[in-house]
């Protein structure tokens, strides 16, 4: 599903990140571990097609991302990838249902209300369908964000620090929700985190080395 080789990315000529080669199989769940600043988010953004202009090879779901134009990449993201971010950013101007329906709209897929019901029910949010986003608790908002990410049954679900702001109990719930949601939708799950509590939840892991700083001076 994902194959990375010889990947490096430079924000500028001075700071450049190099990533280890790795692969993730279809339907696998994997942790992307590393300290703050090790480039977890950068790697996740490259894999999810949010960052371009890397060097090396990144194959995602059979496509070499560097060969796609920006528009093609937007389309690819819309149809095959779901994101869950640390700040579960929902669009406040829209209610829960409309937030979810943005996903198929942007992907150019049919907007099916029954699919919305299905996903909301599986996440225990059925009665929140018409709620305003601002009326949700943090945990509910997080689950709505997960619902939105899986609505299009993406090939890959990327989660960036989904649990680091949560207490133990909520951390547990969110990671299980993510894993269940990924399972139900047959999505590959990649969780980037420095949260040690997740280590015993997901066995597969890629550990990014701490950033190499030039200490010769």
């Amino acid at each position: 599903m994902i194959r990375v080789s010889g990947l490096s990315f430079g924000y500028s000529s001075a700071t450049s990140l190099t990533f280890p080669d790795f692969g993730v199989g279809k339907g696998e769940h994997i942790l992307l571990l590393g300290e703050s600043g090790s480039g977890k988010t950068t790697l996740l953004h490259i894999l999810g097609g949010l960052l371009r202009k890397y060097s090396g090879s990144v194959m995602v779901d059979g496509t070499e991302l560097s060969t796609l134009t920006e528009t093609a990449l937007d389309h690819f993201r819309a149809q095959r990838i779901g994101f869950v971010f640390q700040r579960n950013h929902l669009i406040n101007a829209l209610n829960v249902e409309k937030n979810l329906l943005m996903a198929p709209y942007l992907a150019g897929l049919p907007q099916r209300p029954e699919r919305v019901s299905e996903v909301l029910e599986s996440l225990g949010l059925a009665e929140k369908r018409r709620s305003r986003v601002t009326e949700l608790s943090q945990g509910q908002a997080q689950r709505v964000a997960i619902a939105r990410a899986v609505l299009n049954k993406p090939a890959i679900l990327f989660a960036d620090e989904p649990t680091s702001a949560l207490d133990d109990r909520n951390c547990d719930r969110v990671i299980h929700t993510l894993m269940d949601a990924a399972e139900q939708n047959q999505s590959t799950l990649v969780v980037a985190t420095h949260d040690q509590r997740l280590k015993d939840k997901i066995q597969n892991r890629i550990v990014l080395p701490a950033i190499q700083t030039n200490t010769s001076i």
Partner: protein, 436 residues
């Protein structure tokens, strides 16, 4: 979901902001549209009312008053002119037609005009009911007069002196309605037409009454006057030369008076020679409707310009306000936009959504403004009789309103363009990583 719904929800999410922006713009647009409606209709009215009249000749005074009084019937006469002098002008070789007007009285605020048949034909006036006035004290009334005053054929009424209802009433003689005209959408609709003789009769008698009331001593003079009147009616059958303007009158009678003459030239030479001849060679005054109305518009134009400037300032402020609203909301929405991008929205789509937001705001504002403007004019016609009388209607739409709609849409797009460019340039990865 779609982009329009998204944008609409964004507008609804900031109700106060959206309302104030729409309100500001709609006020500006409404002022411009009201000016457009009223100006266009007034100009059109003035043109149709002055149609076929090249020159107005009356007593010396303000030339504009002469025009306002004798063409639009919204001012008082400058004074009277003698029939003899008027006849002299009517016979001038450069005059094609001369219509006599004898003014002075009104009924329920509608002016009674003593004239001849040519006057109604000037406005293509036709009868809806009844017959044209023939005998003295018979009148034919305009469509609006009939509608507003409720006068019907056969009704009798006493006229008031002056133009306002409640002036001194001439109770001793009553006019009788013999006909009602079809609407012509000109000043004719607001007039009560009768013969010049009717007006003379009314005023001779009323003079007599006035004199009896206030100047008992002057009885003799008065007597003489009414006697003279009788004389001239008797003399009708004689071989005296008759007045060209009022055939029943003796051309040599120096006591008979008119208010004004409406003149049409026989040739363009008239325009060059006649006004100067009259203004310098007699104690009458000639005024050109075209010139005086142009002057009137240039005087009113100052007020219109100030209102216009005020409207444009409102529109500029609303444009700024929309720009600031979009710019600020974009700051708050950086994360929203990045999320939409992560979900696969292209840069183009984001740009379109922001332009759409600006465009939708100004479109709503301008539609509200147009509705407001037409509503205001409709209310004005309903509550201010002068506006209604001037024949201004709020239900007339102009091509200019499309231009207003299009221009305001452009304004919205212009206000949104900087925020849209900013959104286009946003680095989603940085925003999502919290580094920007």
């Amino acid at each position: 979901m779609n982009i329009l719904k998204l944008v609409w929800n964004y507008l609804l999410a900031r109700p106060l902001n959206t309302t104030i922006n729409i309100l500001l713009l709609s006020l500006g647009i409404a002022v411009i549209t009201i000016l457009l409606i009223v100006n266009n209709q007034l100009e059109q009215k003035i043109e149709t009312n002055a149609r076929g009249i090249d020159l107005v000749v009356g007593a010396k005074g303000s030339p504009m008053q002469l025009i306002l009084c004798n063409i639009f019937h919204i001012d008082f006469p400058t004074g009277n002119i003698s029939l003899k002098e008027a006849d002299r002008i009517a016979r001038h070789r450069l005059v094609k037609t001369a219509i006599p007007l004898a003014l002075g009285d009104s009924y329920a605020g509608y002016r009674i005009v003593g004239t001849n048949d040519t006057y109604a034909s000037l406005y293509e006036g036709e009868l809806a009911n009844g017959t044209w006035y023939t005998k003295p004290l018979e009148v034919t009334i305009g469509a609006t007069v009939s509608e507003m005053s409720g006068l019907k054929i056969g009704d009798r009424f006493a006229s008031n002196h002056g133009l306002t209802a409640g002036g001194h009433a001439h109770n001793e003689h009553q006019y009788v309605v013999t006909g009602i005209m079809k609407p012509t959408y000109t000043v004719l609709d607001n007039l009560i037409l009768t013969s010049v003789e009717s007006v003379w009769k009314m005023h001779d008698e009323s003079d007599e009454e006035d004199h009896e009331e206030h100047e008992e001593d002057a009885h003799e003079v008065d007597h003489d006057h009414s006697h003279h009147d009788e004389d001239h009616t008797h003399e009708n059958a004689d071989s005296h030369e008759h007045s060209r303007l009022v055939p029943s009158a003796d051309a040599a009678d120096t006591t008979l008076e008119l208010t004004a003459l409406l003149i049409k030239y026989r040739s363009p030479m008239g325009a060059i020679q006649l006004p100067r001849q009259i203004n310098t060679g007699s104690n009458l005054q000639a005024a050109s409707p075209a010139f005086e109305t142009a002057r009137l518009f240039s005087i009113l134009g100052v007020g219109v310009d100030i209102l216009m400037a005020f409207a444009y300032i409102l529109i500029v402020i609303s444009g700024l306000s929309i720009f600031i609203a979009l710019y600020n909301s974009l700051k708050e929405r950086r994360y929203d936009l990045a999320i939409l991008r992560s979900m696969g929205a292209s840069r183009k789509r984001i740009v379109v959504s922001i332009l759409l937001e600006g465009g939708l705001l100004t479109l709503l504002g301008s539609v509200a403004g147009l509705i407001l403007a037409h509503g205001a004019v409709i209310l004005m016609t309903a509550f201010i009789p002068q506006v209604e009388k001037a024949g201004v209607s709020g239900l007339v739409f102009y091509a200019g309103e499309w231009i207003i709609l299009a221009a305001s849409l452009l304004l919205g797009l212009a206000c949104a363009i900087i925020p849209a460019i900013q959104a286009y340039r946003t680095d989603i990865s940085r925003v999502l990583a919290g580094n920007a």
